[in-house]
Symmetry: C2
Subunit: 218 residues, 2 copies
């Protein structure tokens, strides 16, 4: 007889499970971000979560399953945060700005999520690397659509169709690389990071070294 | 008695070893790029190189040593190719252009080197990932110096000192991400890739959607 049996059945029992799953995932992200997948132990995850190891296995499966669940939750969170920032009725520079703002705000707020997504998932390889590649591809498509729509409005739709995905791949990679750099430079705020990248990709070095600055029109 | 003993001693024996080591490394890069570190077998490397397994172990050590030697050789090649392209007496845009040209030419020519450096080394993690991180840091420093020198010439040295390394990290990440994208788009030439990135970071989207184009001044 487990302690579960002393609680009221049905609806009342569902909440604790959801809460526990969240506790487990929060603990797992913390432990995976600290040690990496291979060195992370289920004992430490169990300690940090305050949930027994058998219960972790029952609720979320093996260490591999648990890591997969972390990747999926954090990737979904990240993409939702970025999409929530992009408002399709704004001019393209403001859409890009809000997307970048949301991205760097997420990375600053969920530093461990970003570490697991960007640094750990790739080192584990296999199916996890494939999920990350998928997530990147979705982010690139999102930015490419923005480039093509901005180009089309200005009458350079054909060039934008040709180069849009490549430019978007560069931009996404540039944004990730700066986020990665920022992990080692915690004194630089997320607003500054977003404005650096915005100035780079919107104005370009040619304007920047002439002293031009891009600022949001708010 | 091995066949080595029938050859003239000293200097004349050195060449075959250097040649064999090159053959082994070439084969190893090919096999690692195809299967990844873990799935790659020393048997296949031995077959492709046409060098016996015991000789591989004698010359270059374990599979781990061999992978490390591949990473170091390819990383050095790549950095040397980029540095050879950058000519410090040219204006900053032309320096950046030549650096990018050299980078994408390298990736097109040594596709397997790039795959091992960018995709495989990170998934192996540990010391290899640290070497890649080191190499990236050197590339970022190289670009940051270019940004700071360009900014200083134009009287915005202070801003360039503050943001130069972050901008350089973005640019390096953008260049890598586009090279990665290009692995799946072999129809796009290295010249086109370099010009996309150059237009993005030199002119920026704002000028691009107005139809501006950056072209080398040759």
């Amino acid at each position: 007889m487990s302690e579960e049996d002393q609680r009221p059945p049905e609806r009342a029992r569902r909440l604790p499970r959801a809460v526990r799953e969240r506790q487990i995932l929060d603990a797992a992200v913390q432990v995976f971000s600290r040690h990496g997948y291979h060195a992370a132990s289920m004992d430490e995850i169990s300690d940090v979560a305050g949930v027994s190891k058998p219960m972790i296995y029952t609720y979320l499966g093996s260490k591999e399953d648990l890591f997969g669940a972390c990747i999926r939750r954090e990737a979904t969170r990240l993409l939702e945060a970025i999409q929530a920032g992009v408002q399709p009725d704004l001019p393209p520079d403001m859409q890009l700005w809000h997307g970048l703002r949301s991205f760097y705000r997420f990375v600053a707020e969920y530093r461990e999520s970003w570490t697991v997504l960007h640094r750990q998932a790739l080192t584990v390889g296999g199916a996890f690397a494939a999920e990350i590649t998928d997530m990147r591809a979705r982010a690139i498509q999102l930015v490419a659509a923005l480039v093509v729509s901005a180009g089309t409005r200005k009458g350079v739709g054909e060039q934008a169709e040709f180069s849009g995905e490549g430019l978007a791949a560069s931009l996404v990679g540039g944004a990730e690389s700066l986020a990665d750099w920022a992990l080692d430079h915690p004194d630089i705020s997320d607003g500054v990071l977003a404005s650096w990248l915005m100035n780079l990709v919107w104005l370009g070095f040619n304007d920047l070294i002439e002293g031009a600055v891009w600022k949001p029109s708010e």
